[in-house]
Amino acid sequence: MRTFPHGLAALVWLGSATIALAADAPSKIDYNRQVRPILSDKCFACHGPDSAERKAGLRLDLREAAIAELESGERAIVPGKVDESAILDRIAHEDPSMRMPPAKLGKPLTDTEKLTLRSWIEQGAEYRSHWAFTAPVRPPIPGAKANATTNPIDAFLQEKMIERGLEPAAEASREALIRRLTLDLTGLPPTPAEIDAFLSDRSPNAYERLVDRLLESPHYGERMALDWLDAARFADTHGYHIDSGRDMTRWREWVINAFNRNVPFDRFTIEQIAGDLLPNPTLDQLVASGFNRNHMINFEGGAVAEEYLNAYIVDRVNTTSTVFLGLTVACTQCHDHKYDPLTQKEFYQFYAFFNNLPEKGLDGSRGNAEPMIKAPSAEQTERLASVDARIAGLRRQLDDRSTISDESLMEWERSLASNIVAWSPFVPKTARGKKRTKLAVADDGVIVADGANPATEVYVLEGQVDTAGLSGLRVEFLPDSRQAGNGPGRSVNGNVVLTDVRVSIDGEPVKPTRASADFAQEGFPIEKAIDADPASGWAIHPRVGEARIAAFAFEKPVAPKKSRKLSVELAFESQFASHQPGRFRVSLTRASDPLGRNSLPAEVAAAIAIDRDKRDASMRETIAKYYRANIDPAGKALSAELAALASEREAVERSIPTAMVMKELASPRDTFMLTRGQYDKKSDKVTADVWAVLPPLPEGAPRNRLTLARWLVDPKHPLTARVTVNRLWQSFFGTGIVRTTEDFGSQGEPPSHPELLDWLASEFVAPERGAAWDVKRFVKLLVMSEAYRRSSVVTPDGLAKDPENRLLARGARYRLPAEFIRDQALAVSGLLDPRIGGKSVSPYQPAGLWEELMSRSDGANWTAQVYQQSSGRDLYRRTMYTFWKRTCPPPTLLTFDAPDRETCTVRRARTNTPLQALILLNDPTYVEASRHLAERLVREGGKTDAERAAFGFRLVTGRVPTAEESAILIDVLSRERASFHKDPERAAKLLRVGESAHDTTLDPRELAAWSAFSGVLLNLDETVTKG
């Protein structure tokens, strides 16, 4: 056993390992670092903050209580007096049944721990509040005066390295540096040209210039967003049960942009927690508030809405606490915290901030869930404005009726008078929905739809009637009290979209060529029900809840010789799901003009029915307006143009994505504590507030999310900045200064370098120079440090003294995250589609993975049930855009430790498994990438095998191979070459993997050999590792 420079004793914290050292004399015990972890882990469960579980009235987390006289008359702790402190007797008791902690807890104290407690009491049993709950005080930089040019990070790290006898490694090679930095700042590897430029840049600040260039790369935002997507539990589906699709594209784009624009972290926080509550929020700020809508959402049939409403709010509390506060509050949902001074009541006070949304407990079956907004892109907004301007212009022209003469109006009225159409109802013998709708026919021809209401449907009516001379038919959609809003549609808003009317007599089609309706929704004129497009149609919103009528005229009246079997099909096959009528009737006529007066809107018909000289101004206006828009030839042309524009507008509107956002109810919802966290066991009413152990909300501020958000980023807040800088540290060094990124409470691991953490937090919030909360500046500070730039070569001495590299005497070396590995393969092979933002895409995935798990019969009613592989460029987009289905996440990413995105994750595991090898060797993604890489080697890599091999090696590792490595590469190539030259058929097979075509100008056998060779490159440890 080795001794310490000062010959000190007791405990040294190194990672999670506790190393006991031989003691000469007890040194000063640090409560927070040495005592609290023991008490917390082994005593607080029964003698801690949770009053319900407290045993023997003893509470050890507060000094006052710990030294007080107990029910038994003893005192657990008597400061300075080890003989009188009952706790020391009990932890060392000979009788196992008396010994603390009880055996059944399964956490016996080690001898070292007992010794620590004893020394601590001997030294006066001093308590300190938990380090993380006290605001950081900016510590002086060690040795700052001695060397002002040293990055403060290195000054702080140095002390412990010396203490541990570690010598810092030299700076990494330039090749290693640019690869490390480019991967870390953009998630992509450097190109050979970029490497060359850096190698030849002899200026003293070449590295800094590289950092600055990469921080300005648009891919920086993507890389930074990736970690944030984990934290925000971003996904493309709702996650529970049916797991239908959702669309939070705009939120993801907001995050990428925010990092690229370097939005200060305080604003980044406020807009995501409470963007909706800012004064006059911008669309972007509203979209940002979707952070707390990324949680899972359920609509399982039969589930209880309240139960899930509660689950969503709990998720918001947990996520917000983990991401910003590093606090694990989930246990206080049911009871007071066992280790930290957090109570169950406080959980529900915090919950109250998030319990005020106009949301349904069960929602999301058709995409995003309420509350949501339309979130157009800038381009879409512009297009809408231009269409609207043109519509307004046309409306003004239509309103101008100066060209209409009285004569023409009167003539039209006269034509109407002679044109009253007689209709007789068609009472079909059979009526059915082609899919599953049940239709029942009454004597008066009224037909009622019942049973299933599929997304699309065709009603088929058949009967025997005398068809001779029939000239047209009329469709009436009738009010239906069974429907929401009195129908007529069975859709959510009573609307109907009639896409086609197909008539046949004895099997011979009879074509309706003209049509008119008493009302048509803008963009859905009646003509669309008889046009060639089977999906376009006539719709009636917002004039629903009452009868709507349309008449259709046949090309010519039906000849008398025809038989009498009539079939009428009404098709409802638009993209608007289930827009079918609940009650309707079809009537027939022999009138010379079936459109006649019957299809006039009710108010026009009523006005016309009144003698001309008795009409008032508004009646005259009604008639003239109708005439101008529908009869007057010039006006009709304007109407047609208007209809076209309305369709265009509708198309733009439809393409606008929605975004789920936060929104406050007008009158706040009451919040109650829930006994044992059960949604239906309400107890005391509480109001919104923050954890008492943390600073209070500003007095007089409204108790809402905006106040909460501002409180989170108050410069005096003890947690937010520490937690944030620690997470950023983790992103670049692999492990946080506090390893438990998600837990800064007393059960979390203490910081490896507490002063460094506090200095970084202080520097982030209140820098000596520059702007506060500046993320890019902070990232630059990290990557400019010597610690970041060190060689990652592991020495036996370094490995022995610091196996996990917590002291950073060497550079960080670890496997790349899942997304980086695929992106790198796409990038080096030239396949990568670098477009930023946009909707998620579906790259290669083995067939049937989703379908084996999904609902089997009614899957067509939901989205994201069948995997529809993307094609073309979308196959090669960056992996952060891969469609994330929560109940069946992309298997290749999970295998490389991506989280399931069901709940917030701020720290990924890093495993090393054979399944990872199988993916990199056999997944078509990598096989296709290796073929493209091969083509690149042959085309760009030089003339000789050696040159090409070296080029490829450099593409994936950033460096030139050694002679030994080259020899191995050439050996692999010659083996593969021999194999494929023997068997060209196999070569052809290999080249067909993937959707993209291969370069046919190259010898397929050669290309196959180089592909197999390139597969080796993509599988190297150095390729998948940041080093």
């Binding site: 930290d340 020495t795 083995p846 069946c888 090898a917 199988l918 060779f1013």
Partner: protein, 486 residues
Amino acid sequence: MDLFREQAMLATRRQFFGRTAAGIGTTALASLLNPRLFAADAVSGRGGSLTALHHAPKAKHVIYLFMSGGPSHIDLFDHKPALAKHHGEELPGSVRMGQRITGMTSGQKSFPCVSPMFKFYRHGASGTWVSELLPHTAKIVDKIAVIKSMNTEAINHDPATTYLQTGSQQPGRPSFGAWLSYGLGSENENLPAFVVMISQGSGNKTDQPIFSRLWGSGFIPSRHQGVRFRSGDDPVLYLSNPPGIEPEDRRAQLDGVGRLNQIAAKAFGDPEINTRIAQYEMAYRMQTSVPELTDLSKEPKHVLDAYGIDDSGVDGGFARNCLLARRMVERGVRFVQLMHRGWDQHSNLPTQIRGQCKDVDQPSAALVRDLERLGLLDETLVVWGGEFGRTVYSQGALTATNYGRDHHGRCFSMWVAGGGIKGGLTYGETDDYCYNVVENPVHIHDLNATLLRSLGIDHTRLTFRFQGRDFRLTDVHGEVVKPLLA
């Protein structure tokens, strides 16, 4: 770098690579991974978190036959002759006691009780009651323990299945198999410790979805998540070489990767590289061991017949998965999770349940007998059941030939067999309406605690610290049901 350091590093390199000096892919490497070398303690696997078991283990493996959707305990195991008297009568309020029911039947005006239309008989020396729907299960009753008093708080599929498999109704926790992989490690370095196989029920096409979280690893490292085995060319995803790549090409590739990685290991001194070298060799071996495992062509006909496996196009079905499960256990797979879908009989129960029982009855019984024949039943726990039971009252109209049943969590039936479980036992009792437990309730946490106990594990001591708390499969609940243990 000074000379001393250089030398020290070399020495360590020799330690790292001494064992692979003979070349990768050789038995030398395998021995590095050989479970037996690590099996000095009672844990029979490698890489688990438990250094020693808490109790003498009875079982080493689990085969979990999960009946997704919630089989009707009333029509299968929970025989109540008295129910016939109440057939068609309203469910008394004194039985329901205001307990919540799902949104699917909460609007129903009438709750008519349904006595099953299937006959029950006593079987075996134990005289266990079994429905005529399960003639093969009836023949193994003396080997299984039927638990009639299972209960859960959940009444909907998502929370109930998540609860049964992970111990929590809300997502985020590791599944049972992941816990075992984490605690006990693997017994066969060429196969995953935790395998999942899914089959589609033929009784009910309107299936409930299932979710990969049911075999997920939650917050414990992802290597413990279940590996899905599927029918077809790639039993494990990406197992096969791509088209055109023959074993010789693959060998050339792996030799190249291995040699270059060895150089990297020397250059960087990072032990993780050695692990990666080993993982690549393991992947290569899996390419042989998995197809060997899933190839049933050498199984004798009488075995295939016993399971009911024929060429009728049910490949990938439950029967085949049962036989595969046995083959996996033979090869040391720790936890085999079968999922058979289609048990959600809200309507047309009589037709649907016949189809479901036909799917699973014969293979489940054959599995138990086959394990026994091979001497594996003693060390393998077989668990059969769904996430909840079904209501005694009819969902929808009750007619002479048809009825449906809604979800019911207050009581339901499961059976367990093998590894330390007392056979021929019927445990727990429900009221005359199969609605409430009246004797010896077994909560799903209790079942999990009991299963872990059979595996030699104290359920309170298989923990993983996450967010400052030591999580466990049984949350803060669970009592070992001692009467179930032999």
